[in-house]
Symmetry: C2
Subunit: 374 residues, 2 copies
């Protein structure tokens, strides 16, 4: 049945005129429409379409007829209605924060992995955006409203108490949580080891005066990276110089500003920069290029993240690879496990509840922005 295209009403009216549906202006075909036209009960249609023990239950002839009517009418089940009964929407929620300047590349890279794995597992992904983690707790609670089966939080900053409230409401996974969460599944990376690997590589190249352009002070990940930096220095027998650790934002302007301060400082310029993320490194490298300080010959630079842009700088950036896509993918699997365990019909007892904390390894990726101290 090929209908002429005019608008969505046409199909409804045609079906009405043919006696298939009871009312005109009905925007979508329902189970009852299919049942009516196939001359059977809605139950039968439902059973056939869901493949539920349908092989045994329904005669081949009826089955055939229903299937052909369904495809003829272009029927597709209403997932909202189905979800109400089955308690499964086959859809996961991703919660991120949106700053005034928009989303960040970091989130998009993780989302990429989430979307890939979700597609593979035949789940849809719904993105919820927040403007502030702490003042919008109510909003977060409302995301558990029957549209999604569970939530993935990307870089959340929760109060511990709120994490508990949330835990009672929905299955969730926290990725790169900025505070340790008492009850939940959290997925992190080994920030300390990353800081160590980056700094250690520089000390092995002979650098002794290594500045660290760190992240914001209250971020646990940023602090772990500093710890790794300190461990590598200590191992190399280098005395810690507090003036070489400069905290700041995780972005390029902040990298620029700190690089300028270092260059303007005259005396005792460092020979290497370990930047707490690639954006900071990029900002710093811009300044170095502008001031005529060649990288890596006069200044080695190491980043952190191995984001999409790391290999596009010139020289390409040596950095710590944090596997964003795999992190996103793994978060989906952890969430799906939880959702499966918490199905309404098979509630878990409190003893079964396990708190999972996974830490992903990181690795050093050597490119062109580093060289031996000259």
């Amino acid at each position: 049945m090929i209908l002429p295209a005019i608008n969505r009403l046409t199909v409804a009216n045609t079906l009405y005129n043919e006696g298939v549906t009871e009312k005109p202006f009905k925007s979508s075909i329902t189970l009852r429409d299919v049942a009516a036209r196939a001359g059977v009960n809605a139950t039968t249609v439902s059973v056939v379409l869901n493949g539920n023990r349908s092989g045994t239950r329904v005669s081949a002839a009826t089955r055939e007829r229903i299937l052909s009517v369904a495809s003829e009418l272009g029927y597709s089940p209403n997932m909202a209605a189905r979800g109400m009964k089955s308690r499964r929407m086959n859809s996961i929620g991703v919660v991120d924060i949106m700053h005034a300047k928009g989303l960040n590349l970091y989130f998009l890279e993780v989302l990429n992995g989430i979307l890939e794995k979700a597609a593979e597992r035949e789940q849809n992904t719904t993105v919820f955006t927040l403007s502030n983690w702490e003042t919008e707790e109510d909003k977060i609670l409302q995301f558990c409203d029957g549209r999604v089966d569970g939530l993935i939080f990307v870089g959340p900053q929760f109060r511990a108490e709120f994490a508990q409230t949330l835990f009672r409401r929905t299955p969730f996974v926290a990725l790169h949580s900025n505070i340790p969460l008492p009850v939940s599944t959290t997925l992190e990376i080994d920030d300390e080891q990353g800081g160590y690997l980056a700094t250690n590589y520089l000390t092995e190249l002979g650098h002794r005066r290594i500045a660290h352009l760190a992240g914001p002070e209250h971020f646990s990940g940023a602090n772990q990276r500093i710890k790794g930096y300190l461990r590598a220095l200590e191992e190399a027998g280098i005395v810690y110089d507090a003036s070489l650790v400069m905290t700041g934002e995780f972005d390029a302007p902040s990298g620029r500003e700190r690089a300028e301060r270092i260059l303007d400082n005259g005396a005792l310029r460092p020979t290497a920069l370990f930047c707490a993320n690639d954006q900071i490194a990029f900002g710093a490298m811009e300044v170095l290029a502008e001031r005529g300080v060649p990288v890596p010959s006069a200044m080695s630079v190491v980043g952190f993240d191995d984001s999409l842009t790391a290999r596009m700088t010139n020289p390409p950036l040596t950095t710590i690879c944090q596997p964003f896509r795999q992190l996103g993918q793994h978060a989906v699997e952890l969430l799906l496990d939880q959702i499966g365990n918490n199905a309404v019909n098979k509630p878990v007892s409190s003893e079964e509840t396990t708190v999972i904390r996974e830490i992903f390894p990181v690795e050093l990726v050597v490119r062109g922005s580093t060289s031996a101290r000259s």
Copy 2:
């Protein structure tokens, strides 16, 4: 009422023991629970919570009580159930294709704009991923299943006939459609003008031999860019040399491969490259750097897109700015307009149906990868 955190069952059991709910193991608080505890009918709760003419209808005291009980129990309405009645899920769907190698940066940048605008308009965004536009038409039809109010397609490749079928099923907007769609709202950019601006800038710099590393042959956008290239050449009185237009994929490896062919070709090397997107330009610039051909002194390079990475290359890339974020944002607005017009209670007549085709302007962004012919 602060409950100890153990797991989701605890809250349900507590409410059961207190006599608030009828069954234990009930995962979420419903309207009836609130009504029961507030000693009113579900209707009243619904009316109060929806703000529907509630001011006049319900006494201040009842209202207060309901509100406080709702917040005490942490009630939030089930959107699936609500959506079934109201026919609005306040959620839009975004459909993209996922290649074996994952999503592309282009999609993520557009998605960024979509998410921003959707958040602003208090809509959620659900991402559906496809692996092939043409073989998965059925799957697309199933996205209109009551979970979303409309769909945005990013770079779709539809059969015209399918677009018509879809049009009868759901409001939708096609962004960067690769074929002209007969019925729908489409949003495009001025590819021809972009090709012209890029090439014209090069001719004005004195370049006469300008290669064009084009996109795939069957893409209408890529072909428009070629047209713009030709128009600029003609205007500058430059005879068209077919060997200088090389089609290929929209990615860096393809840019590399074509740049190598150009350099290996010996005779009559061009002095400028107009690349059909930034990725191609990036691949080409890598080869130029490797072969010791300085940019821009020995070879000017222009890209297309002004993607996030354009300013990270060295030298930063001169390119045509295609406003991805704004495109995504605008697509949301166009879709929301359509959804509003097609509300079930106020069906549009066929005369009201308008086919909208919007074309966004593009502009040249001059950075460091171009200079006058030496």
